[in-house]
């Protein structure tokens, strides 16, 4: 009896070990092969985006990143700006960096239209305030959102210092230009925001906005900040970049090169 029980535990342990090992191997291969800038150092990833605003502005009214994101995520087109759903959009630089770009800054710099999105903060206030765990920070730093858990209290919108979250005042499914069947739609009464294309990262692709930007001017660089050899790691370490509202201590992971 004892022997068979011991055998059973041993076999069960071996099976579990094997299964988890296989999972590590599978993930390891997937990570190494597909995900950008993976260092394989075992250090926890910190996905980030750097935006070269000068390059971006050189494209004039380009909205490739916005269009790609909207198409990828079934984002509705709502004309009323107060009810608009925005994952990534453009703002004037002086609005994005009101304290850094004063009236004496170069006009071309102040009036530059630059993309803004969820900053996937290291210390996200939205996660802290959500009463139902509908939003959380993943191990790789992505601030995720599960609309099925969202009760629509809008505390996260109030708590976000960057205005990066939108509330569905109306049924968004009626305002989607071209419905993608492989991405979920949302319902009336929930909050949504950029997820840094977590679903694309899972299959080794870059975020849709970055991919679209690469096809135009390449102003956006995406990668793992935890890896010093990654393109974004090198860029952030060698160039002066700015982040929004650093005084709040949220540690945004979207960097801007002005």
């Amino acid at each position: 009896m004892n022997k068979s029980r011991r055998d059973f535990l041993k076999k069960a342990g071996m099976t579990l070990l094997g299964a988890s090992g296989a999972r590590f191997v599978i993930l390891g291969i997937a990570d190494a092969e597909h995900l950008p800038d993976s260092g394989g150092s075992g250090v926890r990833r910190r996905w980030a985006i750097a935006i070269d605003t000068e390059k971006c502005a050189s494209q004039g009214d380009c909205t490739a990143c916005i269009d790609a994101c909207n198409a990828e995520h079934n984002i509705p087109r709502i004309d009323n700006p107060e009810e608009e759903i925005k994952w990534i959009w453009k703002e004037r630089a002086k609005a994005v960096f009101p304290h850094q770009l004063g009236n004496d800054s170069p006009r071309t710099l102040r009036d530059r239209e630059i993309p803004v999105l969820c900053n996937h903060c290291e210390n996200p206030p939205c996660v802290r305030v959500c009463p139902t765990q509908a939003t959380w920070k993943r191990d790789d730093g992505i601030v995720m959102m599960d609309q099925h858990r969202c009760i629509g209290c809008r505390y996260c919108i109030v708590g976000c210092p960057y205005g990066a979250r939108s509330f569905n005042f109306r049924d968004p499914r009626r305002a989607i230009d071209k419905l993608r069947s492989d991405y979920p739609t949302r319902t009336r009464g929930v909050v949504e925001k950029c997820t840094l294309c977590a679903e694309r990262l899972a299959i080794g692709a870059q975020p849709a906005c970055v991919e679209a930007c690469e096809a135009t001017c390449g102003a956006m660089v995406f990668g793992d900040l935890a890896n010093p050899d990654s393109a974004i790691g090198r860029l952030v370490r060698t160039t002066l970049t700015m982040r929004r509202k650093p005084e709040l201590g949220t540690e945004p992971k979207v960097h801007y090169k002005l």
Binding site: E91, C130, I157, V158, P161, G163, F169
Partner: protein
């Protein structure tokens, strides 16, 4: 009941019923088109409904603490209004919870607040605190009425039947049972005080912890919420007591109302000091992030809400009434009514200006044109739903005071021992 009190009673029945009927339109709109009928948007995501919720929850907390003066601290002069204070606290709590429930984008998912709580969130705690407070209020309300329920169980009519049912078969009116009642009430009230402070302090903390909103982000915010709750709740109770309190004629309850008037005056002074501290420090520092909201309150488009409604009708006029006619029950009742009603402007001036200064400077000219600040005025659907919640609370109160033995108009000496469960009476 005197003619004046009867008139006030009829007026409130009329207002509550009319409000409920009109409010049904707001309820229908809310249930059919959701938040699309509201005038707030992604930049000002909270509006009249959230303000209405913190307004009514404050009234509830304040009225409850007044009841604790009776059941915990045994202030004898107020003992005949202890149950009335509990009914006020219970009905305003129901109104508040109704209001905030309607404000949720997904009302059907409210259970997640309890079963999937994020205890790191101040709001996450609220569902638990409200649940505990609601149960405690119900039990304490019943316990406070128990003896009267027993004594009136044989009365004819609907009220008698209701009393009979609510005794739950326990007809014990002995001296021992009354001492037991008093002891239980003291325990329940003692649990209730920290609970009321915790949940209303937490309502303040919901705003106070938001670093993104400098106007709210202060350690003073929960304190201001608490003092405001005490003031508005006590003020409401002054009006309630003046109209429906013990005594059949005007003046029968003057002593009680006058005492509440003195409490209100003290709380009003304290509230003004806190307000002064908040405004003067915020403006003095000249930090645009905070002073922008304050300037919006004082000199913005809706300056009259602060100066006219709050300062004029909610501070100066009641203060004059309390100072110069504070010995007349009707004057104190009016002062209480004015403070309680206009306190909604204080709650609106907390929620809206805190949100009306955008996270990004440029947002304000994104859709309103340069030079204009964020502006919000509730839509008719928002007002109607707010009226629905307030009217529901008012109607529940009116039904409660009519059908349940909440007030002992005849100062029945049989009831006196209920509060004399031990030493510690404060005259």
């Amino acid at each position: 009941m005197s003619t004046a009190r009867k008139g006030a009673d009829r007026l409130f029945w009329f207002l509550a019923l009319t409000g409920l009927i009109a409010g049904l339109v707001g309820l229908w709109t809310r249930l059919t088109v959701g938040h699309a009928s509201a005038n707030y948007g992604s930049y000002i995501p909270w509006g009249l409904w959230v303000s209405g919720y913190i307004y009514m929850i404050g009234l509830s907390a304040g009225a409850f603490v007044m009841s604790a003066l009776v059941f915990v601290f045994r202030v004898k002069a107020l003992e005949r209004i202890g149950t009335l204070a509990l009914l006020t606290a219970l009905t305003t709590l129901i109104g508040a919870l109704l209001m905030i429930w309607m404000d949720l984008g997904h009302m059907d998912r409210v259970w997640r607040m309890v079963l999937r709580t994020n205890f790191g969130s101040v709001m996450g705690w609220m569902a638990w605190l409200y649940g505990a407070y609601f149960v405690l209020l119900l039990v304490e309300f019943w316990q406070a009425m128990r003896l009267r329920l027993v004594l009136q169980a044989d009365a004819p009519g609907l009220a008698g039947t209701l009393c009979r049912i609510l005794t739950f078969g326990n007809r014990d009116a002995s001296a021992a049972s009354r001492r037991r009642d008093a002891a239980r009430l003291r325990i329940l009230g003692s649990i209730g005080i920290p609970l009321a402070i915790a949940f209303h302090g937490s309502v303040g903390a919901i705003f106070g912890v938001v670093g993104a909103r400098p106007y709210w982000n202060s350690g003073l915010t929960p304190i201001i919420f608490l003092v405001g709750a005490l003031l508005s709740g006590a003020a409401l109770l002054a009006m309630v007591t003046a109209i429906w309190g013990p005594g059949k004629e005007d003046g029968d309850n003057t002593a009680i109302v006058v005492l509440i008037g003195r409490i209100i005056l003290g709380l009003l002074a304290f509230d003004v000091i806190l307000e002064w501290a908040e405004i003067s420090i915020g403006l003095w520092s000249s930090l645009p992030a905070e002073s922008a909201s304050l300037k919006l309150i004082l000199f913005g488009h809706y300056w009259w809400v602060y100066w006219g409604v709050h300062v004029g009708l909610g501070i100066l006029l009641p203060a004059l009434l309390l100072l110069f006619a504070g010995k007349r029950a009707s004057a104190v009742g009016w002062a209480g009514g004015l403070i309680a009603a206009t306190f909604m402007s204080v709650r609106l001036n907390i929620v809206i200006p805190g949100l009306a200064v955008p996270e990004m400077e440029g947002l304000r000219d994104a859709f309103q044109g340069p030079g204009l600040s964020f502006e919000y005025f509730p839509s008719s659907a928002e007002w109607l739903l707010f009226i629905f919640a307030v009217s529901t609370a008012a109607l529940l109160f009116l039904l409660g005071k009519s059908l349940l033995p909440v007030v002992d108009h005849d100062a029945n000496p049989d009831l006196e021992p209920q509060l004399q469960g031990g030493p510690g009476h404060v005259q």
